[in-house]
Symmetry: C2
Subunit: 453 residues, 2 copies
């Protein structure tokens, strides 16, 4: 059986996510993001296209490196204003049956016990369709907004994350036995107290004592997503993640990242394919190549270069507001820029990009590549990405929302199905069963299972 | 014009809220609380009955004073297991147009910036129908579960609350000017940065710097609810609250509480009626008195006395597990019990209650009174409560869910409407406009307005 390509939609509770300036496009509905209808319409479209899930990014700070102020981010609505992502999931779950939900949750800013309850609640309300993208936060502005003097350093954040995960596993897997809820109307016992265990944790960063407040949900631990690209981040993903998000501009670079991630997973005693790797991708499709190119040209008219540089400044820590568009990126490269280029790999090693080119590259599709072409060409290229890089699927961003998604669902999905590389119906069961086919719960040797009672 | 009686439904994301043991009743659906359908059905029923809102209680600890363990709470599902209340609001909002939502949020356990965004998101998704019940937390078990050694002392909690409110007002009222979001497709400006202001707060308990992440919602500050009954709590409510919840066993006791609350409001320079006071109430109604009494008898067969004492032990801090049902409550009274009796006023001053009687009293309806009777009798008695105590309306708990609510909607609501004391249609606008009729936003001299720009 051919391995099926997995597809998530990549979105955020904000009018402008990866693609900059397209909120001005007359068919773009992104500014309706504050309404329930917008998200329910989107969820229905995604389920019609048999998408595995919708993945919601989140930041709790602003991109304020560009011009040393949040002004450019605000002008271009670069991921600001933004709203809470968790609250969208119940309304999308209400109008779908199979669609999965991945939500970005920073463990830096939320107490473990109420966070664990929040995710369990989502797992209940969605009948086991929820996933958690574990992030440690990367914006200084978010740290300041949460009352910290500055961002905790990168390595320490991963130490905190390790401890946080241990508490999560204790709460989700180790507090309630499977049959603790008996609801016995004869004996009057709703929960058998002997089967509910108090968690005690006295660690370096956290200390808590108590039972998990939520009764067992179908998946217990939500499907775990991670997007860390540093070596600490990859080791963390190799240990904990079931899904990983990556972003690379070329197949070659991506193939290397995939190999490293598979190796990191195996180093933790897990099978390489225990982690499903999703690559960020943007698709602009037409019935013909000309139609697609024409769409791209039309879209580009609305692109915001200031918005793109704002995003890039936020990611790299370098203020690009004083650069000339013709400045070569190599010219202004410093240590932190080197890291940024490695991380976002916005430039391939053999090319000197200018600031303007990078901005143009980022404006449509953000840090991910863009495939533009006919249905056949897009499908061919998607298959090549999978075959030549070893990824499991795509995290599909949008250019115009929901047009980009609807185009993909109406044109590309049927072709991928015809080729036998995309599902023709959902598997039954929880998100974990749909993705991995085994069980609603995590299996050994995943570290969560060590805390199971 | 006769002042209309306000009615909220009182509920919680848990199988057992105020009434103990009724989860065993064959028509009780409370154990479906983990599903979206359950809450959407309930919301539709409430809107059919023109309820002003549904008010969601919450605790993040367990009642573990009884028997010095959480066992009795678990056995009887006394507010445990419980799930996150916020996530229910979007799904109920999706199937209603007017129903308001009050949600209990403890400011002790959530960072101000993400909490402010969460409430703004709810205000957006509900089109301005959200309220916040400000609590400072009262369970030691919740403090421990959040990693604190023990509960912060009562007075300090209110000092923290004052500072937290100031930050909330700064974020909700003082960060974004009303027309900051311009979405000008000609100029490409989504937000005018000159109209978005960075909040700086450097206080005793909190420190933060940043803009509010959410764009302005209809109400900005959600409708503020408070239930504090101590003198510090009443002063806090008098200053901040727009709605207050109280609970008293007799009209006489309640009238005194209402007078104190009105006075506390006036002491803050506000009008006495700027705070809408809701009294907790449970109604068991039949077409005749006999039918209602028969319902009560039937319900009582399912009541859990252990559950009631578990709740009472949690509220009072006294372990009632070692008491005999015939022990007089006065006999075991100590300083903390005195406070508890004053607070919950479960005993009137001229009567010596036994532990068993108190348990029986609490088992149906929790700490609030219960009205049992025909449609006429219930309506008469509700009107008397309003007239003789000065309250604005009721916070209606349930005995069997949703039967108790459906009975009330089908029988009592039409009678109250016939009498001209209950609305026959919703007012248009936000929850604040529906309740107070003036503006979607808070008006001077409410302290929030001082932070408005």
């Amino acid at each position: 059986m051919t391995r099926k390509i997995l597809i998530n939609a990549f979105n955020m509770n904000t009018p402008v996510h990866q693609t900059q300036g397209l909120w001005k496009h007359p068919r773009d509905r992104s500014s309706e993001y504050t309404t329930i209808k917008y998200w329910q319409d989107l969820a229905r479209t995604l389920e019609r296209g048999l998408f595995d899930g919708i993945f919601l990014a989140d930041i709790t700070g602003v991109y304020d490196v560009y011009g040393a102020s949040p002004d450019a981010a605000l002008r271009n609505a670069v991921q600001v204003p933004n709203n809470d992502p968790y609250l969208l999931i119940p309304v999308m779950a209400a109008v779908t049956e199979h669609l999965g939900f991945g939500v970005t949750g920073s463990l830096t800013y939320e107490p473990p016990n109420t966070f664990a309850r929040k995710m369990s609640t989502l797992d209940h309300l969605t009948n086991g369709r929820v996933g958690w993208n574990i992030v440690t936060g990367y914006l200084n502005s978010a740290a300041k907004a949460a009352g910290q003097v500055k961002q905790t350093d990168h390595d320490t954040r991963y130490d905190i994350a390790e401890e946080y995960m241990e508490i999560m596993y204790k709460l989700w897997e180790g507090s309630w036995e499977e049959d603790a809820v008996c609801r016995n109307v004869e004996t009057g016992v709703y929960v058998d107290p002997a089967k509910v265990h108090r968690i005690k944790h006295d660690g370096e960063y956290f200390k808590l004592e108590g039972i998990h407040l939520s009764e067992p949900s179908l998946q217990r631990t939500p499907v775990l997503y991670q997007a860390g690209s540093s070596s600490k981040g990859q080791a963390f993903a190799g240990k904990h993640a079931e899904c990983a998000f990556i972003s690379s501009p070329t197949k070659n670079v991506m193939a290397g990242t995939v190999r490293k991630m598979r190796a990191a997973t195996e180093q933790q005693g897990r099978k390489a394919r225990d982690v499903a790797i999703f690559a960020m991708m943007n698709v602009i499709v037409g019935r013909t190549n000309e139609e697609a190119q024409e769409k791209l040209r039309e879209y580009r008219q609305y692109a915001s270069y200031e918005g793109a540089l704002t995003l890039m400044s936020g990611w790299t820590g370098i203020d690009f507001s004083s650069c000339d568009p013709s400045d070569p990126v190599k010219h202004i490269r410093n240590d932190s820029m080197q890291t940024a280029i490695d991380r976002f790999t916005i430039a391939d090693p053999n090319r000197v990009w200018t600031v303007g080119e990078v901005a143009e590259y980022l404006a449509i599709g953000g840090s991910g590549p863009v495939i533009v072409g006919s249905v056949q060409e897009v499908s061919d290229e998607m298959q090549r990405w999978v075959e030549e890089t070893g990824i499991d699927g795509f995290n599909l961003a949008y250019t115009v929302n929901p047009e980009s998604i609807a185009d993909f669902v109406d044109m590309v999905v049927p072709e991928l199905q015809r080729r036998g590389v995309y599902k023709t119906e959902y598997r039954s069961g929880t998100l974990r069963e749909k993705l991995f086919g085994e069980s609603p719960r995590l299996q050994a040797p995943h570290p969560a299972t060590k805390f199971r009672i």
